[in-house]
Amino acid sequence: MNDALRAGVSARLELHIAAKQYVAASGARHEVLREIVLSLGEGEVAAILGPSGCGKTTLLRIVAGLDTDFDGSVTLAGKGRSHPPKMGMVFQEPRLLPWRTVEQNLLLAAPGASAAAIDRLLADFGLSSHARHFPGELSLGLARRVALARAFAVEPDILLLDEPFASLDARLAGSLRHELAKLVSRNRATTLLVTHDVDDATELADRIFLLSQRPARIIGIVPIETPRSLRSPERLAAIGRDVIARGVGPER
């Protein structure tokens, strides 16, 4: 299904990073990304797996347009002709406005959302009783859920997720994974999902990109042709083993 739709649709995200360097406070330069080429169509989900500190967040920041100091280019196209595309992002830390309540945080990011939509979203994320709390009164897991809900609230065309399910218990993570799948197919959002969890990747992604140690290069691409809804636990386990075998899994 995904495949069928993807065909004939112009690419939504074209990324080419020839090189990305950071200059540390000490003045030292180090390279973080090298030759990353990536092209995603409308509604396609790419998972990015790589060792801690390799450059995944940097990659997302470049896609989001937050870091323009690199060699290469990013092109984002909006839905239909709408430009710029609506973007939703979950940062690695919640990045909520501490002086606004949970509800206000959502509404500020998604001014177009109806009160009913916000309420439904809060309910889906188990946040109903926290709508009027300030972020400082939330646990980290709750705050991360708010950040995820915020990205959902904007009904994005482009969705950038940096470990969206970290700090959540397994049951909750599973349910939110489900919500994410629903959103992506509803909105046909082009999604980049950074994660350390192989299950996240196998359940959600259309393609999995494996990154090397710093400077990160793409060392493998695992395409998953089976549509998300049809993936069986056995199929997922098999893909997971494949991914782990390629060198980013839990075994030494």
Binding site: R61, A64, G65, L66, P84, K86, M87, G88, M89, F91, E93, R95, L97, P98, W99, R100, L108, A109, A110, F134, P135, G136, E137, R150, V154, L160
Partner: protein
């Protein structure tokens, strides 16, 4: 309650001081209060305090508005900072007297000159404080605003201003007090009315009770504004901060 108690203590210490030093060296609260009443009866108090307050408010609004904008700009933009910095140092360290005299010489002995001189004296202070705040702005929240396509105004209101709040609070508190100090000099040198003018006249006669009467009236007004306006507002604005144990 604690504040009231503390204020009462202040009055007691003042009384004791008067007892120890004598009315001539430190007029006591009763003498000062009597003078306040007398000045109020004659209407002079209201006229003078009123006109001074108008000048204070005008200069305050001017200096805060322009100063905050410039401070924000200089805190966030390196080029603006480098360009503005020497001017800032100059303005900051020019004696109030020089600015006041120049203002009077250029703009005439007018209300405009008086208010302008005060505002210009306060301006660099606002800039310096707000600039520090702007430099300390959280980059993460700024990025969040960009990703979620916050408009300029939304960013300012919901991301920047709340972070600047403590700096603005400091700038405003200091602002009122500095402006008030300078208004006095401005009135002393070239205005025919106002609290500063009265204090200057009283000073020529070494009329300490009258000096203290006018000073205390202003202090009382500021105490009232603090208690009834500023602190409730501040409490509201910082509700999100967790009470430390």
């Amino acid at each position: 309650m604690l504040r009231l108690a503390s204020l009462a203590l202040f009055l007691v210490i003042w009384l004791v001081g008067t007892f120890a030093l004598g009315e001539r060296k430190l007029p006591g609260p009763p003498a000062v209060a009597a003078t306040i009443v007398a000045e109020a009866r004659s209407g002079a108090l209201f006229a003078n305090v009123g006109i001074t307050l108008v000048r204070v408010v005008l200069a305050f609004v001017l200096a805060m508005a322009i100063g905050s904008a410039l401070g924000l700009l200089m805190g966030r933009n390196r080029v603006a900072d480098r360009l503005g910095d020497p001017w800032l140092v100059v303005l900051l360290n020019l004696p109030a007297l020089v600015i006041i005299v120049l203002a009077y010489v250029w703009l005439g002995l007018t209300e405009v000159a008086a208010v302008a001189a005060v505002a210009v004296n306060k301006l660099p202070n606002t800039i310096v404080t707000v600039r520090e705040g702007a430099r300390a702005l959280d980059r993460g929240l700024d990025e969040m605003g960009r990703v979620f396509a916050f408009s300029r105004w939304k960013k300012l209101r919901h991301i920047v201003l709340p972070q600047l709040a403590p700096y603005l609070a400091a700038a405003m508190r200091l602002g009122v007090s500095l402006i008030w100090k300078i208004v006095l000099v401005v009135e002393l040198i070239g205005r025919p009315n106002g609290v500063g003018f009265e204090i200057g006249t009283a000073f020529q006669l070494f009329d300490m009770p009258r000096i203290l009467a006018y000073s205390c009236t202003f202090v009382l007004i500021m105490l009232a504004i603090e208690t009834l306006l500023v602190q409730p507002l501040e409490r509201r604005a910082s509700r999100w901060r967790l009470r430390t144990a």
